[in-house]
């Protein structure tokens, strides 16, 4: 069964003319002669100014080679912002706030598109760091030092790290409830009780940022009024006047209507992206179907709007988020980076007593997801023990629509076990929400830092087999653990593996500690701080660990590759003796050239994780617990943020394939590592139930940030109501015995091959890559082939 391109997630015919037009306009980013959201840089005009810094992009190793170009060209293209006298005498945090206010109240464009109901478009900035000359000198020196180490570790295939912005859930509901005016009042009274200069400076900066948000909305109101005056269409003029009224009110005042709530939410959200100079990634909304519900219900019950009005407002709101990709349309595409912003919304899920919280807005939003077909905002649906049968079936129906789930499924009980393990307050855990893709956090008070560090677990296998040295370069990366040929048994090998794993964790965490310290010292973000509980109270900016909860996450890459490698050595070298260690080492050094029978034995005669086979799964559990527990003992010295583990492999399982030597699971250098907690490609031969049970056996609570698990299903599974019920049953069982999150690809290899041949006909083809959706034809060829190779589990 293949799908015609037109069937693949095209927008529904039911969209209004307005929404179709806005959606069409967005998709014309190849044809448009102007960018609405290209990076706009703003500088103080000082020659030593910085508007772009590499350590914030350290987790995007593909662009390391462009770092200098980005930094220099953005500074060269930056508009100079005039600043009042006395600016330079203010402390850094106040300077940052003043600069931000100046940009959003005077410079950031406020273009309103024809037909838009939610306004505010430009959020992609590169803002001055507003350093003094001596600050700039120290800052640049420390960045250079960090970068040297980051480049070394990335080149060696150890991993990457950086002080990544975004990736948290701000306290948006507070803005809806009290407005920035309410927050302003609270901060003002906190100022009265605050004596320390540091705390007072932070509050002062936050107050400036509150005003900045209001000032920006005022400008949008002005633009709407201006357009209304010149608008010949009376209906549109009326809409523009209504927009102006709303923008005069929110986000400064509390929102009262559904429209006001959506507008307030969008302003608040887009300004975080502008303030952090980070367009989109991981900046997430949390449980939006819960906190927007009162607005929706009131408006509908008071007949202010109909369900259809609300739907159109949601469509308009939805489209805005996609402008995060706008500027990337032309600068080229690489391996899905263009498709990975992950402004995540969370739908459904349990309440404090385990009851289900699905409501009429959840259902409306599900419909919107099904009909609008856009990458952002990315939805994540919480499934739990008491998820109602009809809702689960609806979810399965959406999964079945032509090409698979447009959202991730998050499993409450398993996710909550992890959050409890990491010590978050038990009575709040029901209200957790994922960030970015599937990274579990608390809402509004958790600087979750979900993608700061990525470590290649499979590299530790290479080092254990090569006495701590990189196989290709001979560079020492880990301790000398000895010649493996001299190991006395499996325990010696496993111990060496663990020592090497600890060593590379130390390296990558050490490197990240530098980045975290630079961010804390030189890059306060007071606008974000005022949106996260704990910062005003603690007197510390969010970058300095001011939030109530502070984490940095280490995401494990190549997990199954590492596990299968250890399992193969255990079985074939130390148990059956079929392969001798010296022979294995020779084969690996030769990248298996001339060792095909040996490689086949490694592939076929050793236990593989992902098949519900304890011989592999027990090792998997031990490896997972070992490294995640080690990570949890670490804190960043500069900010006391605690490290914790997770399994979001992003696209690094491809990046580090060439820099990881051949592995004893039979993988050649260059073949992709495993992704998330998935089995090695093609190795999950026992089907999805076995894959789920293997994942569930990992004891994933020690990786509390969540674990990416993908299964690809053949469309025959969902061909009719009877089979949708089976999928629903599968998901229910997964909730009981599987991992924390699941994404389902429902697509045939034939469809993908057709897309490779005729990319133009398949521009809408969305696929899940690791934790994110991507347009298939915009992915790199390597990822495209990998998706095609990914085992499609035939259920027919």
């Amino acid at each position: 069964m293949t799908c015609e391109p037109a069937q693949l997630w095209s927008p529904s015919d039911g969209l209004s003319t307005r929404v179709k037009k806005l959606r069409g306009e967005y998709f014309s980013f190849y044809e448009r002669d102007h960018f609405r959201n290209e990076v706009q840089a703003f500088t103080t005009g000082k020659p030593y100014d910085t508007v772009w810094a590499p350590h914030q992009w350290g987790v995007v190793p593909e662009i390391y080679m462009f770092f200098d170009a980005y930094r220099d060209s953005l500074l060269a293209s930056a508009s100079t912002v005039k600043l009042k006298a006395g600016f330079r005498r203010e402390p850094l945090i106040v300077r940052r706030a003043l600069f931000f206010r100046e940009v959003v109240t005077k410079h950031l464009p406020v273009k309103i598109l024809d037909g838009e109901l939610i306004v505010g478009a430009h959020f992609n900035t590169a803002l001055s760091k507003t350093h003094t000359k001596s600050e700039a000198k120290k800052y640049n020196r420390r960045i250079r030092k960090w970068l040297r180490e980051a480049r070394r570790l990335n080149a060696a295939g150890v991993g990457n790290c950086g002080a990544t912005p975004g990736h948290l859930i701000p306290d948006y509901p507070e803005v809806l409830k009290t407005g920035f005016s309410g927050i302003h009042d609270r901060l003002t009274s906190q100022m009265k009780n605050r004596a320390d200069a540091k705390g007072r400076n932070l509050l002062k900066a936050m107050l400036i940022c509150c005003e900045a948000a209001a000032g920006f909305a005022e400008r949008c109101a002005g633009e709407a009024e201006r357009l209304a005056e010149n608008e010949p269409d009376e209906k549109r003029a009326g809409e523009l006047r209504a927009i102006a009224l709303i923008c005069r009110k929110v986000p400064w005042e509390p929102a009262e209507t559904f429209h006001e709530a959506l507008q307030s939410l969008w302003f608040t959200h887009m300004l975080v992206m502008a303030a952090e100079s980070y367009p989109g990634p991981g900046l997430s909304y949390g449980r939006i179907d819960q906190y927007l519900l009162p607005f929706y219900r009131r408006d509908v019950s008071e007949r202010k709007i109909t369900r259809e009005d609300a739907r159109e407002l949601l469509h308009c709101w939805w489209i805005k988020h996609n402008y995060a990709y706008d500027y990337q349309g032309r600068i080229g595409t690489n391996q899905g980076i263009n498709s990975g912003f992950g402004q995540l919304i969370t739908l459904s899920g349990c309440g404090p007593d385990g009851e289900d919280l699905t409501n009429e807005l959840t259902l409306l939003m599900l419909e919107v997801i099904g009909e609008i077909n856009l990458l952002e905002p990315k939805p994540n649906i919480r499934i739990h023990r008491n998820t109602p049968a009809d809702f689960l079936l609806k979810v399965c129906e959406l999964v079945s629509m032509a090409q698979g789930s447009p959202f991730l499924l998050n499993f409450d009980e398993a996710s909550i076990r992890g959050l409890k393990w990491e010590g978050l307050p038990v009575d709040e855990l029901w209200n957790y929400a994922p960030v970015g893709c599937l990274e579990n956090t608390l809402q509004g008070k958790d600087r979750s830092g979900t993608v700061d560090v990525n470590v290649n677990l499979a590299k530790a296998v290479e080092l254990a087999l090569n006495d701590g040295r990189d196989t290709a370069t001979g560079e020492r990366l880990g301790p000398a653990t000895g010649d493996p040929a001299a190991f006395h048994g499996f325990d010696d090998f496993f111990t060496a593996f663990k020592k090497q794993l600890s060593a590379i964790l130390d390296l990558i965490i050490g490197c990240n500690n530098r980045a975290d310290a630079i961010r804390a010292r030189f890059e306060p973000t007071p606008y974000l701080s005022l949106l996260v509980e704990g910062c005003a109270e603690s007197g510390k900016d969010i970058t300095q660990g001011g939030a109530v909860h502070n984490f940095l996450t280490v995401q494990g890459i190549g997990f199954a590759t590492a596990v299968d490698s250890v399992a193969a050595v255990k079985k074939l070298v130390y148990e059956t003796g079929q392969i001798s260690m010296p022979e294995l080492l020779r084969a690996i050094r030769a990248n298996f050239e001339g060792y095909e029978p040996l490689r086949q034995a490694l592939l076929n005669r050793a236990p593989k994780y992902g098949n519900d086979d304890p011989a592999a799964d027990d090792i998997a559990r031990e490896v997972s617990r070992f490294w995640t527990e080690a990570v949890f003992r670490e804190k960043s010295p500069a900010t006391a943020k605690r490290y914790r583990g997770g399994y979001l492999s992003w696209n690094y399982w491809i990046s580090y394939a060439p820099s990881t030597a051949a592995t004893p699971d039979g993988r050649r250098r260059g073949t992709f590592l495993s992704n998330g907690i998935c089995a090695v490609n093609g190795m999950a031969a026992a089907g999805p139930t076995a894959a789920a049970l293997s994942a569930g056996r990992l004891s994933l609570e020690t990786a509390p940030n969540g674990a990416s698990h993908t299964i690809s299903l053949n469309p025959t599974l969902v061909r009719d109501g009877e089979h949708l019920e089976k999928l629903a049953g599968f998901l229910r069982a997964y909730n009981e015995c599987g991992g924390t999150a699941l994404q389902i690809n429902m697509i045939t290899p034939d469809t993908l091959r057709a897309a490779l041949e005729n990319p133009e006909d398949h521009r809408n083809l969305l696929v899940r890559v690791t934790g994110y959706n991507a347009y298939f034809v915009m992915l790199g060829r390597e990822i495209q082939n990998e998706i095609i190779a990914r085992e499609s589990l035939n259920l027919g």
Binding site: P597, Q600, E725, K726, G729, F730, R732, E736, G796
Partner: protein, 313 residues
């Protein structure tokens, strides 16, 4: 538990096409029928069989050294297995690093097979699934199958029996009484054609079918729809009428369209697939037959399986 052993040729987890919910289907090896269209030819013989997969073979030749009978010869055209010499000892398969040689046929105790089935119990419970015992013909290994079904029931698992209905009356009664659901294959109601297509008499099958309702077990009738054999509307109507009339516990009629995905299986077994190259049926045909079944008195007729796209007229 006794030490009776059964022989399977496959145990399929996450099976979604052999009864309600998510199931584990146990395929017992050996069948007294010889249906021309059989899509599991490795399930016909009761004996273990050695097969060679050319796409997996890397030419390592470990198998040749391992064979004590000198029964293997690797030629440019592929592996030649001298079946007259081969004792199916399996040493060659054990020696092959690439698993290009495989002995089809695995022995199980009922206890071990129940343990295997219990692995997915969470999925059965959540989906209303369970275990399906299929084949081959499971009732051709009656002692083992009875013990396995009884053990599954004792473990609280829903058990479906997928059978041709060709079994002695006492075996039929004992096994059907242990089942929660019978998936009964009815291919044709024409005596002589039945003998021609399957090699066995129809009468004992229909006798068994008629007695099933007396045991109070629900039945899903299944008909393989094979072009040129069983795909006439008349045939489907007759089966549906029979079931509606004589099997009062019948709940559903499954029409399974002809599949040619088994062609390579025949090649590996070095046997002839009589329907090699035959075209798949169309969706339209399957839908028409489904309607015919319902018109003839089946309340719930469902078709599934591969189809071809109808050519434009």
């Amino acid at each position: 538990m006794s030490n009776k052993q059964g022989v399977t040729f496959n145990v399929q987890r996450f099976s979604t096409e052999d009864g309600p919910g998510i199931r584990t289907t146990v395929f017992m090896k050996g069948c007294p029928l010889k249906c021309a269209w059989c899509h599991n030819p490795e399930g016909i013989s009761f004996k273990p069989q050695l097969v060679w997969y050319d796409r997996r073979c890397i030419g390592a030749r470990d198998c040749l050294k391992a064979c004590p009978e000198n029964a293997l010869k690797l030629t440019p055209k592929g592996m030649i297995i001298a079946r007259s010499l081969c004792t199916v000892c399996g040493l060659c398969a054990d020696a092959c690093p690439a698993v290009a040689l495989e002995v089809i046929g695995r022995k199980w105790t009922a206890e071990a097979l129940v343990d295997e089935a219990l692995k997915d119990v969470t999925f059965y419970r959540a989906s209303g699934g369970g275990v399906t015992i299929s084949g081959g013909e499971p009732l051709a290994q009656p002692e083992f199958v009875k013990e396995f079904m009884a053990s599954c029931r004792a473990a609280g698992l829903h058990v479906a029996l997928d059978t041709s209905g060709f079994a002695p009356p006492d075996v039929w009664e004992e096994c059907v009484r242990l089942a929660d659901l019978v998936l009964l294959d009815l291919k044709t109601l024409d005596e002589s054609r039945h003998r021609e297509y399957t090699g066995v008499d129809l009468a004992p099958i229909l006798d068994n079918a008629r007695r099933t309702a007396a045991f109070g077990v629900p039945v899903w009738v299944r008909t393989p729809v094979i072009p040129g054999y069983t795909d006439s509307e008349k045939n489907i109507r007759e089966i549906a009428e029979f079931a509606a009339r004589h099997v009062p516990t019948v709940e559903r009629h499954d029409l399974l369209s002809f599949s040619n995905l088994c062609t390579s299986k025949y090649e590996r077994l070095e046997t002839n697939f009589p329907l090699r190259g035959r075209e798949l049926l169309t969706k339209e045909t399957m839908e028409r037959l489904r309607e015919a079944s319902e018109a003839a008195g089946m309340k719930n007729a469902v078709w599934s399986g591969p189809t071809r796209i109808a050519e434009k007229e």
